[in-house]
């Protein structure tokens, strides 16, 4: 970048880039909230709600935020939905080119996660990020993989991952109750517990969730459904008795 010396409002010397307007980081418009995923006995379980918020308005309630990638991976995305849709297009191209080699090999989850990490980090370096936090899970040749990338390129893999609010509300539950080779039923119940807490405590959450399962055999996206919520606690009925005005 070329710079030219100028003076700012307080007459301090500053360097201004010469070629064109400074590219600013954008801001998100339509956003998805948490994604939560765990490794279980046969593979990966991933959950996310179907909400697309527009600021504080819960504008869209049927947004699919978990998508299968190739034969071996699942991608869950939170953050700006238009950027998530663009990432799906990039991955489409990646998988297509991989198939065209026709060499019997196919990109596994580790490779896809690595690709995404590079894309996210390089965009961040150009001050033009894809405004997403992504969860990439998969199984290939019996090896389970679960990783996460954020819009600034922070990435890691673990036995359980979450994005956004999920990091604060879901992961503590997972740290406590997840164990190696957890069964499908226990895994689903655990994810539902996390999603219910998120529904209570995350104001961008929407009560319509999508859980997807990924095993060596392939991806099974389950139909969207709603969680029951519990309000029948005696302390909820009259919380301000004895302390009028409190909440």
């Amino acid at each position: 970048m070329e710079f030219a010396p100028k003076q700012d409002q307080s007459k301090n010397p500053v360097l201004i880039p010469v070629d064109g307007p400074i590219q600013r980081t954008q801001y998100p418009y339509v956003t998805g909230t948490s994604v939560v995923a765990i490794k279980y006995k046969d593979g990966i379980l991933m959950a996310a709600d179907m909400g697309g918020s527009y600021g504080s308005t819960l504008r869209y309630k049927s947004v699919e935020r978990i998508k299968p990638i190739g034969k071996h991976s699942l991608l869950g995305g939170s953050g700006e939905i238009s950027d998530f849709q663009e990432i799906l297009r990039y991955l489409d191209e990646l998988i297509l080119n991989d198939n065209m080699w026709d060499d019997g090999n196919s990109l596994g989850p580790k490779e896809v996660h690595s690709y995404l990490t590079r894309v996210m980090y390089n965009r961040r370096n150009k001050f033009d990020p894809l405004w997403n936090s992504l969860v990439l899970g998969g199984v290939k040749k019996g090896q389970k993989y679960l990783g996460m990338v954020t819009m600034i390129g922070v990435n890691f893999e673990d036995n359980h991952v979450a994005t956004g609010f999920g990091n604060h509300l879901a992961r503590p539950i997972l740290r406590d109750e997840w164990h190696e080779d957890i069964s499908f039923e226990d895994g689903v119940k655990l994810l539902e517990k996390c999603m219910r807490v998120l529904l209570y405590r995350d104001r961008s959450a929407v009560n319509k969730i999508q859980i997807s399962k990924l095993t060596e055999e392939g991806v099974t996206p389950f139909p969207p459904y709603s969680l029951k919520t519990y309000w029948g606690f005696s302390s909820f009925h009259n919380p301000t008795v004895g302390a009028e005005g409190s909440w």
């Binding site: 590219q23 418009y29 339509v30 527009y54 504008r59 700006e80 939905i81 238009s82 849709q85």
Partner: protein, 234 residues
Amino acid sequence: MESLDVDGPHSMGTTIIGVTYDGGVVLGADSRTSTGVYVANRASDKITQLTDNVYVCRSGSAADSQILSDYVRYFLHQHTIQLGQPATVKVAANLVRLLAYNNKNMLQTGLIVGGWDKYEGGKIYGVPLGGTILEQPFAIGGSGSSYLYGFFDQVWKEGMTKEEAESLVVKAVSLAIARDGASGGVVRTVVINADGVTRNFYPGDTLPLWHEEIPAQNSLLDILSAPSPEPMSM
């Protein structure tokens, strides 16, 4: 006296709606274009043609939405020639998305693409700020849409007839106009189905009256010269 902002960028505050019904789609919009507080055009046409069978409802910056729809019309025209048959609604919507997404830093426009093609029938696609694309059974947009979320949550149902869909759209735009200062004027609708395209026009004075609105009179003088009501008798 504070100065009025009459030189602001032309923006269509707007209410725009797109609804699918059994056999096609109905697109609707108000007709107000404002520059700041001044109504620059009280009879704008915000439902713009992209091809014979696909139209788009424009909201947000008037300039941005116009230039975007001009580009899409241009590309679709070439695409239609190359394809040898009418473009599908999906292709039109994805072209809109492409431009909206790739220029997201510069554009401020939300669009609703609606049309009919022989493969999928009537379809509505929402393309809000940012360039997300979402296929929906119905879509609402523009500043006036804030007042319609509850309304649609309550009255929307699948498989309406053409008449039900159109009267729903007119009612909805009219409700939004009642509460949104940036929406007003007339209600325009465009119905697209296998038989073609029909444009309709509902002038402000034909729309229903809502809470605290009263019927229009020619003059006070008419009211005064009207016979006074009879006293009640026991």
